[in-house]
Amino acid sequence: MRKDSSLTRVHKKASLAHNLRKHWLLFVMLLPAVIYVIIFSYVPMTGIVLAFKKYQHAGGIYFSPWNGLKNFRFLMVAGKLGMATRNTILYNLAFIVLGVLFEMGSAILLNELVSKRFKKLSQTFMFLPYFISWVVAGAIMYNIFNYERGVFNHIVRALGGTPFDLYNSPGAWPFVIILLKLWKGTGYGSVVYLAAITGLDQEMFEAATIDGTNAWQRIRYITIPSLVPTMMILVLLAIGNIFRGDFGLFYQTVKSSALLQPATEIIDTYVFKLLINDGNIGVSAAVGLYQSVLCFITINLANWLVKRVQPDYALY
């Protein structure tokens, strides 16, 4: 990204007016996106001052009175932020580890399958959940796990078991949420890895076969190592967002059950509730700032670490 030498940079600076005149149309073409990003990203960044203010409607973002660290102190007293942070991290870690395992695993297996028709058909099915909204996924959850009429309890009752009330059992939720996430995302993720496998030089595999390796060894020593760069990019991006939860996944399945909160509250749902339900603008801005700062630190830290170990895998 930043390869130009200092010499050319000096040269560029010297001829700003010249460049503007020469490339004016390129600047115009860039303008809509630049304006968009300024309005929807950069100006809101200045809105983080709200975290240190007592919001008043008349004063808006910039002219409301300051109230120091009161919003943060409120969060400390409320005591839910730690729980939400822990849930966000743990869920995301599970998504990352299991996601990589499932996606890479299915991609490798799909690649080894002999029947092309089976491969295509199963891929089509696996992709389907990616196409639906979280609202529809919520309807699916309702169909299966609804206490009185759900299919799950239908089967349990038919087998003579005791029906299971998921919506009153916080302990079961981590499994359900993780399962749902894998269900929705594995098909999509596996195609990314499959594309990387198809892009590999097939002669490598042929040579290895002639050398007397078996399929397991080829997977272990050729396929998996060649998928590492793809994996690193995806994992690095995911780690950068480890403090950001998938709002739709949690909001559409959990709804607003207080009982399930300890197991399912993530930072994003917490901010949303503070803002929309409680209308507590200063405090929700404080949570948002906390989340953004943590994300910013993690992504830079992760990228820095990767850069030290293997510069090719770094994001920037």
Binding site: L26, L50, L113, I144, R149, H154, Y316
Partner: protein, 306 residues
Amino acid sequence: MSMHAVHPKRLNRRIWTRDAIAINILGYVFIGLFALMCLFPFYLIIVASITPEASLIRNGYPLIPTEFSLQSYALCLKNPESVLRAYGNTIMVTVIGTFLSVWLATMTGYVLSRRDFPYRNFFSFFFFFTTLFSGGLVPWYMMCTRYLAFKNHYYALILPMMFSVWNTIIAKSFIGGIPAAITESAKIDGANDFTIYLKLIIPLCKPLIATLSLFAALAFWNDWYNCMLFMTDETRYNLQYYLQRMLGSAAAMKIVAEKSGIDLPSVPLEGMKMAMTIVATGPIVLLYPFVQRYFVKGLTIGAVKG
């Protein structure tokens, strides 16, 4: 397990060694089960949507269809204005939003891919930085509601997802693969930058455009979040939010029932939820087989590091 002397020609054909058999069995079992797991919930919803309400109340959502009735669908469409309006809103937003977002991503990506554009690194970072740091939900929400008057305006459903930095990075790396000589020779012929983008670059970007359109269309079609944040007027609801409301509150369904003039107890509420789910998902899934080809191709593009 030892490989016998293999004739080079036979290499392209699969040789059924023990490891190949083992891995294929594992593949068929694991992939087969997972594929069925992906399909199964859709089957359950379809079955529930065509089962009569009385049976749903009595026996719960069925595994296997025993009775058949289109009662739930009939009720979904009994009072068609609100469903059709939600459909209309979703289609309008999806079409306009997809067009704008693909246009913005490709045009911005083209400028950033131009090696002779002196500030490309600065602007690339200017965009990329917004993915690293953000002000969070609240300042953004305040911006939208207080200063841009998003409440109950259709553009509230389009603007939030109109520009994506990731799509721009994908576009930049794809267009960067097109030989620079095309732009250079056109410049010598006196074409301006926008003409080059529109007349020369765009026609070479079909796989890119197919991919970005698909991602964007999916995002707009499946959006309920922006509708939930910004729409209070029922006539502005999109399809997914309409479905969410229907699934969520019995109260909302009572209103539908009263409007369609049916006694409450006999209203197929359970079946209707499932029928509405099918109605809301339908078009995008029907579109799916046609776009799948592009999607896989496009993901290859998307996987390229920006």
